[in-house]
């Protein structure tokens, strides 16, 4: 087939497609995601994260390969779907980003507080996104399975539920205002009900994600930060207990949901 005939055939396909019954917006978005998923730019962040994981960095010139994400030092596969969880060494329930901060500080000698205060997408925060992409990708296809054996994990679930329903700000919004009922949407954007298991690859099981609209890789921490901006709240601190508690609440609710992180979003 000549190039011209191929082009003509492709054009015909396009015309035939356009002539089909108009698909609903949700269908259109789903198809768009499907097409993009083939070349999800999150792959690039994943590769960068893997390189960072194995690179000697920081004042201590160490890699992160001995980082304990909950399943023992150096075990990355399966760690993401069990976070947030209790860590005995820090005596805290920690989510992925919070735990990465701990490892960057203890193993590499980087300043966790300074990283937490760095704006998203810059400096070590850009590295954090890549690391989150790498660690989450190692659990792709696995089911969310947060532990609740430790008393503090159960306490954080209860606190997370309360934070989720906490109304405040000039608009009286809580997380539940948008994510407390199934089948709702803002404008045309479908909203997952995060008080229950919203299903495979939805909600907590879909972040970190590559956002097409901004060309950025957002971790759950950044997702929550922007939710709170739109809730008209003050800003939640990076890896603060409120955000970790929300992670426990959403993650435990999503038990059994398949993780597709890092996914792709509009």
């Amino acid at each position: 087939m000549t190039a011209r005939r191929l082009a003509a055939a492709l054009l015909m396909c396009g015309v035939a497609f356009a002539a089909q019954a108009q698909p609903s917006t949700a269908d259109g978005i789903a198809r768009y995601r499907e097409m993009l998923a083939d070349g999800n730019p999150a792959d690039l962040f994943e590769a960068k994260g893997e390189a960072l994981w194995k690179q000697k960095r920081g004042p201590k010139g160490a890699t992160l390969e001995q980082c304990d994400l909950g399943k023992g030092p150096g075990i990355v596969k399966g760690a993401f779907v069990e976070l947030p969880r209790w860590f005995a060494d820090t005596q805290r329930v920690q989510d992925l980003e919070s735990r990465l901060l701990t490892c960057m500080e203890t193993l590499q000698g980087l300043d966790a507080k300074a990283i937490a205060e760095t704006p998203f997408g810059r400096g070590e925060q850009a590295n954090m996104e890549a690391l989150a992409a790498y660690v989450s990708a190692a659990s792709r296809g696995m089911k969310m399975n947060l532990p609740q054996a430790h008393a503090k994990e159960r306490e954080m679930f209860e606190v997370g539920k309360r934070v989720f329903f906490f109304r405040g700000g000039p608009y009286d919004f809580s997380c539940a205002s948008c994510h407390g009922e199934a089948g709702k949407r803002i404008r045309l954007q479908d909203l997952p009900d995060l008080t229950k298991n919203p299903g495979d690859g939805v909600g907590f099981a879909a972040w970190p994600a590559y956002r097409v609209s901004s060309g950025e890789l957002w971790s759950m921490q950044r997702r929550l930060y922007d939710c709170y901006r739109q809730q008209r709240f003050p800003a939640p601190g990076f890896a603060s207990d409120a955000t970790i508690a929300l992670g426990v609440y959403m993650g435990v609710n999503a038990k059994g949901a398949e993780s597709i992180a890092p996914s792709i979003k509009r």
């Binding site: 008393a151 306490e155 009286d172 901006r229 709240f233 603060s240």
Partner: protein, 213 residues
């Protein structure tokens, strides 16, 4: 003898301490822990100061998955209704065209907005309103044909007065008729000015508005 008894008592205590885990925190404990967590987790940013997470009575009463007791709800509604500021000179209705622009506008009051910048009404984020706008949210009920369905043939007619006043109260303070309404209190919280509320009123009630075609 005394010594032995004391020693026995202590070892009994130790055994008891090992055998039983501390009791799980009560609901009141968890409320207190959550309060501390909220306080420690947020920082002011731009125009969004920390007073935004100091809840008023209504926000606190509507911050769980169970509705407040009937008596509390009634009290919140009565206080909200008593605080409604009715429009100057009984002028309830403005320009539906401006109202439509406000309904489309979802900006305002985030930490990326400038101090004093005018806010939109955010209406389409949650409601269907005019038929022409297909990009609408579904968190709130459809408001398409709002005035028409309620028999408003003229906004100035005496028989329209009740629904006009109800709608004003709803926009000014949604909690006046529903203690835990999901809708912002546009007048009470200073999100919209009186003039802007008049324009949103026109969008919903004016028989000329596309909402009522």
């Amino acid at each position: 003898m005394t010594h032995t008894r004391t020693a026995l008592g202590i070892s009994a205590l130790i055994v008891a301490g090992c055998a039983t885990a501390p009791p799980p925190p009560s609901a009141a404990d968890l409320d207190r822990i959550t309060e501390q967590v909220m306080k420690a987790s947020f920082r002011e940013q731009g125009i969004a100061k920390l007073d935004r997470i100091q809840q008023d009575q209504g926000q606190a009463a509507c911050s769980s998955d169970t509705a407040p007791p009937e008596a509390v709800a009634k009290q919140i509604e009565a206080a909200a209704m008593a605080g409604v500021k009715w429009p100057e000179g009984g002028r309830y209705i403005g320009d539906w065209r401006v109202g439509e622009t406000l309904a489309q506008n979802g900006r305002g009051m985030t930490w990326t907005d400038a101090a004093g910048a005018p806010s939109g009404g955010n209406c389409y984020n949650c409601h269907q309103i005019s038929k022409a706008e297909i990009s609408y949210g579904t968190i709130g009920p459809s408001l398409y044909n709002y005035g028409k369905l309620r028999g408003v043939k003229s906004v100035a007619a005496p028989e329209s007065a009740l629904i006009v006043q109800y709608t004003w109260a709803k926009i000014y303070n949604s909690k006046a008729t529903n203690a835990c309404s999901g809708m912002p209190r546009f007048g009470h919280a200073g999100v919209l000015t009186e003039a802007q509320m008049r324009d949103v009123m026109a969008l919903l009630l004016d028989p000329q508005s596309p909402v009522n075609q």
